[in-house]
């Protein structure tokens, strides 16, 4: 080594005078030490507008010479925030599961060909759509200021959840003789689709509220769809995860409703669009497209010979989807649309009654 190359490396302690607020001692509570427990003092204060472009953790001391490498486009709190982000993130970590070991795969036994094929068609469909909700939040994460990292963390947990959903449905399709069937194209690059949204809240209303909302209702009916304990458990565990994803969307809309009156009409327009697609369109497994609704009817009825009976249960599921959707939108603060005649949903429910 040339001596001149050796850097001069003394111990520097000047940074000790340039740290974030000092003297914070968060205490663990009943649920351990949660992100909520450390939202204290200045570390718990969220800016309305984030000017953090260097990616520093919220509350760390700024360094004027740090590079502005963030490139964040979502920087205002109302664009991204929800009040229970810490809860949803911690719950997501507590409720992770493994499709390899938490599903009783040994309980799967050969099924009649029509039932097996219907189950596999549904699994293929879920393989196709599950990761919309993985790809799309992933795309947004790096665009959101880390000052709102709690909300980002919920999205990251969702990306992992969806990876596991994709994986569990692939496992099921290959475990009992059927194999994957044909895709539906439900999540192709359609204008107005979840993938192509240019605004975070628009994306969230399309994905979390209408899309995943419909999937959640269906997963909750997994007891009726599943033919064995493995399938029932698979739907139950997925429903648990979807409930968090839907909650993100509802809670974010609720926050936006409370803080951004100037955006109400815009949100109503997103909801109009979603509601005018019958039942959340092709991403709804119980929706109008034949591939999945016919398969579901076979599963619900217990075979082709009971198709009509199965189809009627499917109609009941659709009705439940609409009712649950309404409850969610009401809870987000946009319920007036169901009373003032703006929304076609109450009429659709009446048709099914």
């Amino acid at each position: 080594m040339r001596v001149s190359d050796a850097p001069h490396l003394d111990l520097d302690t000047s940074w000790m005078e340039r740290m974030g607020e000092w003297g914070t001692a968060a205490q663990p509570g009943k649920r351990g030490l949660t992100l909520e427990d450390i939202r204290i003092g200045p570390y718990g204060e969220l800016p309305e507008e984030s000017d953090n472009m260097s990616g520093r953790p919220r509350g760390a001391a700024e360094r004027p010479e740090a590079y502005r490498i963030g490139g964040y486009t979502v920087r205002s709190k109302k664009e991204i925030w929800l009040d229970n982000a810490t809860f949803l993130y911690e719950e997501a970590l507590q409720r992770q599961w493994s499709s390899a070991t938490d599903i009783p795969w040994e309980t799967i036994a050969p099924l009649a060909d029509d039932i097996e094929e219907a189950e596999c068609a549904l699994c293929t469909f879920f393989n196709e759509v599950e990761f919309v909700a993985g790809d799309v939040p992933a795309r947004w994460v790096a665009n959101i200021s880390p000052d709102f990292f709690e909300a980002r963390n919920v999205l990251l947990a969702q990306v992992q959840d969806e990876a596991r959903h994709m994986d569990v449905f692939r496992k099921r399709a290959l475990a009992n003789g059927g194999g994957l069937t044909r895709v539906t194209g439900a999540t192709s690059g359609f204008i107005g689709g979840i993938d192509l949204s240019r605004d975070f809240t628009e994306m969230s209303s399309r994905m979390h509220v209408s899309g995943e909302g419909a999937v959640l209702t269906m997963f909750r009916m997994g007891e009726l769809v599943g033919q064995n304990p493995a399938e029932k458990r698979m739907y139950r565990l997925c429903a648990q995860d979807e409930a968090r994803h839907v909650a993100f969307g509802i809670m974010h809309l609720r926050y936006l409703h409370a803080t951004a009156p100037e955006r109400h009409e815009e949100i109503e327009a997103y909801l109009d669009e979603a509601e005018n697609l019958p039942l959340a369109g092709g991403t709804n497994p119980a929706g109008p497209q034949a591939e999945t609704s016919e398969a579901l009817a076979i599963l619900l009825g217990g075979g082709k010979q009971h198709y009509d009976e199965g189809f009627r249960i499917l109609l009941a599921i659709r009705k439940r989807q609409l009712k649950e959707y309404m409850q969610r939108v009401v809870s987000a603060g946009f319920g007036e649309r169901f009373e003032n005649g703006r929304s076609p949903v109450p009429g659709r429910i009446a048709e099914l009654s």
Binding site: L11, S54, R56, R139, V159, E291
Partner: protein
Amino acid sequence: MTQTSRVKNLTASVAHIDVPPPKLQWMGHSMQWGTRVTKGEHGLRLGDLNVGIYGEIPQHWEDQSRRPRGAADLPGMPPLPYHLRSKHQVWADSAADLYEEAIQHRWIPATDIPWNALSPLPDDVERAVCQVLTELMQAANAELECITYWQEQMSYGYHEVKQLLAVTALTCARHIDAFRKRCLANGGGLGLESRGRMNRAILESRGGWTEAVVYVYVLRGFYIQNQYRFLLAHAHNAAERVIFAHCLADHARHMTYALDHLKYAINQQDGQRAVIQTLLSIGERTMAREMEEPVQRSALAVVFGGGIEGGRQEGMATWHALVRSAIHEYLDACEWLGVKRNMIHRRLNALLPSDEQLKPPARD
């Protein structure tokens, strides 16, 4: 309520609706009827599914839809922006196993860390721990921002990699979560933000995922890995021990994928080795400057030396040992990849400590 009565209840209101006859056009499309994978000793794992056509992983996957590998196609669907459609751009044979392993080894900062084991540390040591973790948080943040940027562009044909990266990004978030909690739970706070040299290099490497992997894992990964290892050895309590042990194990998985992928890319793609060589030549300078940076280096030395006083001699000697270990591991990895580093950047070379620098101070 029994299932039958539940169903009756459900369907009562729709009994009057006519049921359209099914067309069943979706039937008859399985391309491999009769596939029956069974679970093994470790359950039913993602890699177990790669049988017959489902295990055929093509060199190029032109399909820009979300068609899962092995499913039948539906022509005419508008494409999605999947830009990484060649196997050499993303693949590692270990991805499926690493995915399952990551899920099995998941941990929860809120409840798996014995937070009650924290106890007050001397002010200089607490400051140093908090400073070190602040920069490590930013490194993990750059890693996850980089991963999520690329992961969503990867085509469905290589779902194992997408799935592994989904888990990896959450793992990074979990590290940030644990570090932040440690900083805010023991009377301290966060430190000074990072200068951001390598974070910038990582986020600026937008030419391809393979190139980003070179920056995140080969150039900086060993430095991070050694920080975790040395921090584990110098942990002040059980809480820190558990945190760093988990981080070390997680990071080792990320490194395994990275090196596997690079080896694959080099073997499959003409010219890739030379590109990586160029990237390393440029990146070594940035990495050396990151290591020289006084803030993180000094904070580490204070932790290792048990305070400012100990930091000057013993702490710096330990930091030199850390750097030496990181650079040697880096060079070993380059050799394993077949990427020549006969002439590492002089600045990085200058950081390889002399025997004198590695000596702990004599004690009375």
